[in-house]
Symmetry: C2
Subunit: 237 residues, 2 copies
């Protein structure tokens, strides 16, 4: 079965977490908003379709009769269906738990540049963004990254969960760290030495043979004006 | 097995979503931070324990050897273990998807009074809160509630998912709406007529025989200074 992935074209966004899992596992999928002939309105139009289980927002994925929304939920499905997470009860919930913690940090990274309204321009909330970004840099980055460092330390292996191979949460943590390096290069430069295991995992996924073709394909979009944005005034040591 | 639920004492918080599921299903649990002799530091102390799978934040639940963190993940576990969600593949992911959408709105409701830093006082971010709350009232409340209204309309029954009985997502939607009614009474007064099915579900859970004892027990804490807060200056028609 070929899955249909729906996400706005032009930015990696939350769609990228699903994409990385599909690509690393070699699962066939169609990127619907980038198909020849797809309009800029393709996702918005599709969202209005009459569905038994409508998604609230992209990304969502059609798997035959199923439509699955919410990034962590799509990944839970892919993890169970394609063995991208441990099959044990303990490992399955653990990877889901990690994914949800990653999602929390992703949402906070977004709000550094849009602390007032996702629908308004950054330029209309610059002052608030400066305050929120400062808190994110000084409190939240250390809190989240030291947590993942602790998890990797306890795991005593290369990956977040047991089983000796990557899970979808490892791919997501890679993308999160990649986004932080893009958005907050100064801050990450000054703190990353405190999180050697997190940074090593980032490098390990960047060099994963399963992702080599994808990274070389040009299909992995630049961060641009998506969730992770680089505004020099929001960064700092 | 009696579960151990860990959450800060004094506010319902995200712990309440787990509590409602445990209470409505009659599942025995211990509220660890409210046990006789528990200190105000009980949760913070327990968080530092050496665990194979450490939680990032409360609520978390000990189920024998398992420790489960992240509200939606704890509920996924309870749903599967105790039949609090449909057993079908489709229904299971659907309820998880709805729970994650509810969680997104809960996080946004929190950020109306803490748009800059969760660790700072409201008084130190009042101006930003006023702007964020206005956006939440005018854009986000209608966007989320009209989504849930559409879901209930499609469901053609009393509950969000199939199967003819409540799932844990119904209990969570009740608590979310309850929190909105507390925090934004003026706004909810002026828009609730547009969401008759959401409001009917709220009333249905409020009168659920399975929750009668809990609601009468006094153990359901008032919203107070938790996720949902009532600051009159953040409310408006």
């Amino acid at each position: 079965m070929t899955y249909n992935l729906w996400y706005w074209d032009g930015i990696p966004g939350r769609g990228e977490f699903v994409r990385l899992a599909l690509e690393a596992a070699g699962i066939p999928y169609k990127e619907c908003a980038r198909e020849p002939g797809a309009t800029a309105q393709a996702v918005a139009d599709d969202m209005q379709c009459d569905r038994k289980h409508p998604p609230f927002a992209p990304p969502y994925m059609e798997a035959g009769q199923l439509t699955l929304g919410q990034t962590a939920n799509v990944l839970l499905y892919l993890g169970e269906k394609h063995g991208l997470a441990p099959a044990s009860v303990s490992g399955r919930y653990w990877v889901n738990q990690l994914q949800l913690t990653i999602a929390d940090m992703v949402a906070e990274a977004h709000d550094t540049h849009h602390p007032i309204a996702a629908s308004d321009y950054y330029e209309d909330q610059r002052e608030e963004a400066a305050r929120r970004a400062e808190n994110f840099r000084t409190e939240r980055i250390p809190k989240f990254l030291s947590y993942f460092e602790r998890v990797l330390y306890s795991a005593q292996g290369d990956w977040l969960a047991e089983g000796g191979r990557w899970s979808y949460a490892d791919l997501s943590l890679f993308h999160l760290v990649d986004g932080l390096l893009y958005a907050f290069p100064k801050r990450m430069m000054s703190v990353s030495a405190q999180y050697p295991k997190v940074m090593a995992l980032h490098g390990r996924v960047a060099n994963l043979p399963e992702l080599r073709d994808y990274f070389a394909s040009g299909r992995r979009l630049p961060f641009g004006d998506g969730i992770f944005r680089h505004y020099p005034e929001l960064d700092g040591k």
